[in-house]
Structure formats: C-alpha cells, structure tokens
C-alpha cells in the first residue's frame, strides 16, 4: 500500500463525478439566488433608510467576516435549538440556504461598487428626462453596472464552487463527501484527493472561460 496507484487514480475520477450534479446544483443555486438577494440588498441600501441601512451593514459585515464553515455549523447544528423547523432540512437544502446568504453578502458589495462605477451623469440624465429614481436605476444605471460587475461576479462564482467542498461536513454527498468516503474505504488518500482536486480545478477553468467569453461579448457593445 505504498507508492502512487495510477490505475486507482484514473478509475476513481468517474465514480467521483457521479456526485458532480450535487456540487453544481449547490453552487449554481447559491449563485443565482445569491445574486437576486444581493441585488435586493443593494437596492434596499440605495433607499438610504436610517433604520434599514445599519441592519444591512451588519448582515453584510457578519457574512463576509465569518468563515463559511462556521455559518454552516451555526445554521445546521446550532439554530435547530431555537428554530426546530431547521432540523427538518436536509444537508442539501441547508447548504443552499447558507451559501445563498453568504454569496448575497459578497454579491451586494460587488453590485454596489459596480453601481458606483457608473458615471453619475447617467442617473442625472435619466432624472432629467422625467424618470423616477427607481426607473432610472432599472433602465439606465443597472444595465451598465451589471456589465461592470461581470468579471468580479465570475470570481464570486468560482469561490462558491470551491466553497461547496466544505458542505460535506454537514454530511452532503457532494464530490468532496464522496471522495472522502472512497478514500477512507481504500486508504488511497493521495489518489482520491488529488483526483477531486483535479475536478475542482477543471470546474474553475471552465467557469473562467465562460466568464471571459461573457466579458468579451459585453465589451462588443452587447446588452445583458
């Protein structure tokens, strides 16, 4: 049981890939839902409500300031003590919820920076033609901001996909969870973890490529 077993390394890759749909659905769901929630947070902040803003700041600060793993543990193992309903959620649902909230905090900051990057003359011109602030945001400012936000959102997505690796701590059978089981059963730790590392790496490369293409298309003047 020493040395590197190349055959085992090659054989284990397809069996790990069986769990890829779990990893991808957690990552993609958190990205899409986190984007929507992040956008809502940004727009709520734009209202400059004196009660709402400190709450939003606290939310963003907490979820960016604590490790994702800690957030998962608080939610999945801690909160059922006071909110029994959460105990009924399975690891998959809990992972999506926590990762969505976590992503929304990061995404709200990305979108906020992107809105700030849009020339303030754009908002002024929209107001000057008689639009309300909301309509001006929706029709003029946000479409331009989202263009600016695409590269950093791509990075957020990559962090999310890699972040899904720790959901196995809740017992989720994602690619990491499955790999750990297989490694424990075969004692081939190096081969198994190297294989799953390779899969994460490829996922990141594919995500980067898609993001680059999207960026390129937007730079050609295309709209979102």
């Amino acid at each position: 049981m020493n040395g590197f077993d190349l055959n085992y390394f090659i054989e284990i890759i397809p069996s790990i890939l069986k769990a890829l749909p779990i990893t991808l659905s957690v990552g993609l769901s958190a990205m899409v839902l986190g984007f929507i929630l992040g956008l809502v947070i940004t727009l709520l902040r734009k209202l400059d409500n004196p009660v709402l803003n400190p709450i939003i700041d606290l939310y963003v600060s907490f979820f960016r300031g604590t490790p994702l793993m800690v957030q998962l543990f608080i939610f999945f193992f801690g909160l059922p003590q006071i909110i029994p309903f959460i105990a009924k959620l399975n690891a998959f649902e809990a992972s999506i919820i926590v990762m969505t909230i976590n992503a929304s905090a990061y995404i709200s900051e990305v979108v906020r920076a992107a809105i700030d990057a849009v020339d303030k003359g754009q908002m002024e011109a929209a107001l000057a033609v008689g639009m309300s602030k909301t309509r001006a945001l929706e029709r003029i400012v946000l479409p331009q901001a989202l263009k600016v936000a695409v590269p950093p959102l791509g990075n957020t997505f990559i962090s999310l996909i890699q972040g899904t690796a720790i959901t196995f701590m809740l017992g989720l059978q994602d690619i990491m969870g499955l790999t750990k089981m297989k490694a424990a059963a075969s004692y081939r730790f190096l081969e198994a973890f190297l294989a799953v590392g390779l899969i994460y790496w490829l996922l990141t490369l594919v995500a980067t490529m898609i993001n680059k293409r999207l960026e390129w298309r937007l730079s050609k003047g295309g709209a979102l």
Binding site: D119, A125, L127, V129, G130, M131
Partner: protein, 243 residues
C-alpha cells in the same frame, strides 16, 4: 413662464448662489455668462433639481415649488417642463441614439413605442443624424452625441430647454455644428436658457444676456448693452480675458 426668486445654495461654507432672482418669458432666449465658479451651472442644475437648493422658489408654467423642500412629484413635473442638455452630453450609454430620445417618451410620458420612435426619428433628422439611429453613443463623435442630447431634450416638448455649457467638452472643430443646431432651434420660438463660454454665440443668439459673478447676477440686459457698455469693471475684465 419661468421665474426664480431668492435662490440660495451652499456647499458647506461655500455659498455659490446668493439670492438669485430672475425670470424668463415664453419664447425668450437667455444666455448666462460669467467666470468659472460664478454659479452659472449650479443655477441651471437647480432649476432641474439636480442640486438641492437651500432656499428659493421656482415658478414654471403652472407649478409653484419651494426649492428647499420639493416633493418627489413636483421635481418630476418640473423636470418634464424644463429639459436639460448636459456639458458632457450624458447620453445613456446602454441605448442607441434613437433609444436615447425615445426612452424619456416611453418611460416618463407613457407613450407607445411606435409613436415615440416616430417622433425620435423626426428629431434625429432635424439635428442631421437620421442615418445614425442605431449607433451607440460610443460610436458617435462628441458633436454628434451633443446633437442627440439636444434632440433628447426637445422630444419631451418642454416649456424651456436648459443648456449647461453645451460646447465646453467639445473639440474646437465640433463646436460649430452644435451651435448651429441651437441657432436653428432659436428660430422656432423655443424658450432657452444657455450657460456658455462662447461669447460671440452668447451675443448673437440671445434676447437677453445675464452676467453672473460670485453667486449673484451682476449684470443683465440686451446683448449689445451687456457686451458694449463699459460700466462694469468685473464684466469688462472677464470679457477681455475670454475675448
């Protein structure tokens, strides 16, 4: 038609408008000249509620607004009555030339797209850009962008068009085409307030010239009175510098 009374505006300790009173009649063309920092642009932007005034009242058409505490509705109404042409054009960068003009009609005036497009095409033609309707702002020269900006302002059929240094950001060779469009408009009995550094133009196009200095209206009168009468030292030294 448009009347401003006791308009005050400060940025912190810096008082930029110190009690402005002025009035513009229907069909009148008023040019505002003066040194940088004299408050010309701030005055114009206050009329469009792009600056928060500290005090003052605005009467425009049938609207009467306390400028220190304008309601959202009043601001939107006032903006539909007074259209703005910006120094940096501020065309919507995510919209084509045509959409830049039709957007306000569709969104603010709830016009049908077909009707809005038709009006917008007519205006593009009027400013000499009929063949550019599908161009994005980034594909147009500064002069072309500003002409679209003027068409966008006209589309709303405002009571008055406010021009905030419409040629200041342009390369010298592009200034002429924009001034020509404004001169053509002047013949159409459209009310205009124009902040400008183009003295020849200010003199030629205006029914009345206002000279602003250090936050007040220092001098006001018919173009030849303001430009030729030698009775205001600040004005004369300003005119010598820019002339």
């Amino acid at each position: 038609m448009l009347k401003i009374e006791n308009l005050f505006k400060s940025y912190g300790d810096n008082e930029v408008l110190k009690g402005i009173n002025f009035q513009v009649n229907k069909g009148e063309i008023v040019t505002i000249i003066g040194p940088s920092g004299s408050g010309k642009s701030t005055l114009l932007r206050s009329i469009n509620f792009l600056e928060d005034a500290n005090a003052g009242t605005l009467n425009i058409d049938d609207l009467h607004i306390d400028m220190a505490t304008p309601s959202r509705k009043d601001m939107m109404k006032a903006r539909r009555k007074a259209a703005m042409v910006f120094q940096n054009y501020n065309l919507f960068k995510n919209k084509t030339a045509l959409e830049n003009i039709s957007e306000g009609l569709i969104i603010s005036l709830n016009m049908k797209k077909k009707e809005a497009d038709q009006i917008s095409r007519g205006l593009l033609k009027q400013v000499g850009l009929a063949e550019f309707e599908d161009s994005m702002p980034s594909q147009l020269s500064g002069g072309q962008q500003q002409r679209v900006g003027i068409a966008r302002a006209m589309a709303l059929k405002p009571n008055v068009i406010l021009f905030d240094e419409p040629t200041s950001a342009l390369d010298p060779e592009l200034v002429g085409e924009v001034l020509q469009v404004i001169k053509d408009l002047a013949k159409e009995d459209i009310t205009m307030i124009i902040v400008t550094h183009e003295m020849e133009f200010a003199k030629e196009v205006a029914d009345r010239v206002i000279f602003m200095d250090q936050g007040i209206i220092a001098h006001e009168g018919k173009p030849d009175e303001v430009f030729d009468k030698m009775d205001n030292k600040r004005l004369q030294s300003f005119l010598r510098k820019v002339g």
